[in-house]
Amino acid sequence: MNTLITVKPLLAILAALCLPPILASSRSPNAREAWTFGAALTMFGVIASMLPAVWGGARLEYTLVQVLPTVSIAFRVDALGLLFALVSSSLWIVTSLYSVGYMRGLKEHAQTRFFSFFAFSLAATVGVAFSANLLTLYLFYEMLSFATYPLVTHHQDREARASGRKYLLYILGGSIGLVLPAMLIVYHLTGTLEFSAGGILAGKAGAAQLTALLVMFVFGFAKAAVMPFHSWLPAAMVAPTPVSALLHAVAVVKVGVFSVVRVVTGIFGTGLLTELNLGTLVATIASVTIVAASLIALSQDGLKRRLAFSTIGQLSYIVLGAALLSPSALTGAMLHIAMHAFGKITLFFCAGAIFVATGKKFISEMKGIGWRMPLTMSAFFIGALSVIGLPPCGGFISKWHLVIGALEADRIVFLWVILVSSILNAAYFLPIVYQAFFCSPEEALFERRVQEAPRWCVVPPLVTAAASVALFFYPQPFLQLARLATRHVLGGF
Amino acid sequence: MTAAGYINLIIAKYNYWIYIVLMCVGLWGMIVKRNLVKKIIGMNILQTAIILFYVSIATKKGAALPILAHHIGAHRTDPATIINPLPHVLMLTAIVVSVATLGVALALTINIYKRYGTLEEDEIHDLMRNA
């Protein structure tokens, strides 16, 4: 495998750090939003331009600064990182469109702050995706924690404060209390923090110590929302919907699972985990989360809260896939990062559009809404199908790989977990759609007159819903990247 | 050690015992007394104790003052016959330091008296709590 030294990863991150122009044009909203778009498009362009090289089996590297004598802040673009960066940056473009419609539609305050920190969060997300070692990953992980705090608490009311507290308590408690010591222990044991295909911990510590370390990492990356470190996510739903959509369905939470996958594959190494049978431990934790979160989601009436619990469950699919350690499961896990992102962001966009158009937040208030907002609810339906994992949507492809992976690993229990939870997914999503379209006229709470949300709130969910369908037929860029990454992780090179 | 041994220890090293006692007196004054001026006096006793300690370690039995006559070169003097001048010189500086400290402390005390009308620490704390 050849390695290219290029400044592109850094450029991608810097593209999102367009804070000065955003701040400078705070008095002219159009110029400000133009800068955001410019940043999003530039970032996507830079990331996409790295695709051919990575596809060709190359890795792109760039060392920013030798910050400690043996550890540097360095970037490395490999298939897995690129997959995640591609998902985040492409969805940022769509979300920017949506944000404009949503924030202006609701006449929100402090929009400059909102767009600045949004860009900042994306920079941190891409930084995590391109990190070459654990220290760099930790740096951007923490940067993301703080950059999202003003977004979560955007409304600045008491509820926002309470949620912000919970958010920081879990995220910082995990990262400072668990990940930081775990990272230092890894460094103490091995003298390095570099991610490498076979892991770096093999033969450096006993089974008990490794188990403790693994548990510290899995729970410490609280953004992955593995139970019992999940309850910040429903609380964070007080944020404006674009934040929930991009950050709490894509960027932030995926950074959590991405970090877990990175640590499992790059620090521990699949070989070591198989040898010690530690995969089963993590897979069990993930399975409990999947089933429990799905059951809780059933009982939620707040639409965004239901989506949040659904996200918690779906994130653990990724953790489960990584923990099964079989080729297809790993591919499925990585693919699920992308597929779930497109599906879930559609759902959040729809929830936001409903709120902008009608002010409704609760599912029980949405009977018959399909006749009032047919486009939005159609997009919702497609998004739901994708998250449940039914064809013709992208979610089917990743779940298919996960199922095959469970069979490959010869773990029928986890196969059942996936299947049962898919049924639960259907049980908490489909009634919403059914109620929206097929309730009797007496039950309907809306007039049968089409009145959609503003244009910029309706187009983005349609785009992402279409993308979800398209990904079923052409999963290529993501599937190819996931396969490359799996081969790399399992030592195929 | 026998009783005679202890007595011998005290008498032979009386200079150390004096400085230790003085130091304890000083510390006691600073910690236990509630009047600020008494505390300052305690502080001065503490500093003086250390100055005495330094000066006492310079002395030698039967030694003369370290003043050199002109016609005798330094290389011909026997160090055993003169008192070590260095600790004395050091303590000149230390005395200056303690005087300076005392000056600042007294100046502050005047300010405290102007503000609270008392130098009793307990009364000052009462005033602060009620303010």
Binding site: L68, E142, T153, H155, L172 | L27, L90, A107
Partner: protein
């Protein structure tokens, strides 16, 4: 001239202090420029010496050409060149950032403030460069006495706080002097290099052990290690803001430096760490200090008092890291001397600015501070993140070495204390940020928060603060270079 830097760096602020005191009568307007120029010159000299040490190794300077052990020698090596540069930078930046506040707080007495400021700096620089144990005491007292006077210049209860500071400070200094006296008794010398040569022959000597413990106790008192910290919170919170942001970064850190100097370069390393059973109790003391100070910080209701307790916890970091006795922990401690000075300066400058603009620094006064003073609060956020230990700020990297050293030494209690204090710092700072960000609350769901008057400090105050905040990040990113080029050479090879 650069050959005389070691002397000039002490003598020039000393002289300038006297000149300023005289100029205050003749040409009051010239005082501030003279002080700034002097401090800038000191920084230049310190940086020059650091450069020389890095390029060509340590060197000694004999005052008045008297060779040691008779004369006083100033010994410049990697350790003190680094600390000196940091302290000189802090002193200069602080004066640039706070002279406006000083004018307001001290009115017609402001020129005496400059004189004391210079005197304080002269003493601090002297402590750092001197290679003579008694000279160190004298300079320590110069620093302390000007510090007492500076604290005493504050309003309200400052005089009482300063007097208590005098009592505790004098006890500490006296203990140090006594320890030096014992050393002189058995070795007959006061020169540090000379002491380091003679002491290895005196391992079994009880007087040497007593000297070490007495001197260390004195230093612990001076650096406000729990439970000897009683003087610090009042002294720092009652003094006016320009003074606070000068003495808070300089005093405790300089004392930690003296501890490092004495334990590494006066006493033989195998005596300090091997022969004497001092390291383990010192680490436990540090653990207690960190935990206790963090808890006490939680119960404070004003920003400056809270920071004062955070500062005491940070002293515990350095003391504990140093007495871990391994290279990594020691690197962390020395690095933290520099980083903590920068962080403390940054935090106290922001607090000073808040206090000047909002006229109060209880937590209540901070309501809406993010909208009223966005730049100042941004600086406070950076300082807070650094104290919590978030990369890439410098606080993270010293914590990295400290925790790494504790892991290598198997001191799990110290690891726990550091993590605990990081989490407490997160709570402490976010409690403030919450007040500044949320309150006064928006009326209802999607309501806009009420408008507040913009009250940001003038640009001359903001600019040095922003430089300091940027410095925290730059220091963090330079950690690798500082460690490999300077700190590695500062730690004796005997430490592994």
């Amino acid at each position: 001239m650069s050959a005389h830097f070691p002397a000039l760096i002490v003598v020039s602020p000393l002289m300038a202090a006297m000149v300023v005191a005289i100029l205050a009568w003749v040409r009051p307007g010239a005082c501030l420029p003279l002080a700034v120029v002097t401090l800038a010159g000191s920084l230049w000299a310190a940086a020059g010496m650091l450069w020389r040490v890095v390029v060509s190794g340590p060197f000694a300077y004999h005052l008045g050409n008297w060779p040691p052990p008779i004369g006083i020698a100033y010994q410049i090596d990697h350790l003190n060149a680094l600390v000196l540069t940091a302290m000189a930078a802090v002193a200069l930046v602080n004066l640039l950032a706070t002279w406006r506040h000083a004018r307001r707080d001290f009115a017609e007495r402001v020129n005496y403030f400059y004189a004391l400021y210079l005197l304080f700096c002269a003493g601090t620089y002297g402590i750092i460069v001197t290679g003579d144990a008694f000279n160190l005491f004298v300079l320590l007292e110069i620093t302390s006495i000007s510090g007492y006077a500076l604290v005493g210049m504050g309003k309200r209860d400052a005089a009482l706080a300063s007097l208590n500071y005098i009592f505790m400070g004098t006890i500490g200094a006296s203990f140090y002097l006594l320890g030096v006296g014992y050393l002189y008794l058995v070795t007959g010398t006061l020169n540090m290099a000379d002491l380091a040569m003679i002491l290895p022959r005196l391992y079994g000597n009880k007087v040497v052990t007593a000297a070490f413990i007495i001197a260390m106790t004195g230093l612990f008192m001076k650096m406000a290690l729990f439970p000897l910290h009683g003087w610090l919170p009042n002294a720092y919170s009652e003094s006016s803001s320009p003074v606070r942001s000068l003495i808070a970064p300089l005093t405790t850190k300089t004392m930690v430096y003296v501890m490092v100097r004495v334990a590494l370069y006066v006493f033989p390393v195998d005596f300090s760490f091997g022969h004497l059973a001092f390291a383990q109790p010192a680490v436990w003391l540090a653990v207690t200090s960190i935990v206790a100070a963090s808890l006490m910080a939680l119960s404070q209701t004003s920003l400056k008092r809270m920071l004062a307790y955070v500062l005491i916890a940070e002293v515990g970091y350095m003391v504990g890291g140093f007495w871990l006795g391994n290279r990594m922990g020691m690197t962390g401690a020395i690095l933290h001397i520099v980083n903590d000075a920068a962080m403390t300066l940054c935090a106290f400058l922001a607090v000073g600015s808040l206090r000047q603009q909002l006229a109060d620094d209880s937590f209540k006064a901070l309501r809406g501070a993010f909208r009223r003073m966005p730049w100042t609060m941004a600086v406070l956020v950076v300082a807070g993140l650094s104290m919590i230990g978030v990369p890439p700020t410098c606080g993270f990297f010293s914590k990295w070495y400290l925790i790494g050293g504790a892991l290598a030494a198997g001191q799990w209690a110290f690891v726990g204390a550091l993590i605990f204090s990081s989490l407490i710092n997160a709570v402490l700072f976010f409690r403030i940020f919450e007040i500044g960000f949320f309150e006064p609350f928006a009326a209802s769901d999607h309501g806009h928060p009420p408008d507040l008057a913009y009250a940001e400090a003038p640009a001359t105050v903001i600019a040095p603060m922003l430089v300091t905040a940027a410095g925290l990040v730059v220091l963090g990113l330079l950690t690798g270079r500082i460690v490999t080029r300077i700190i590695d050479a500062a730690i004796p090879a005997a430490i592994l």
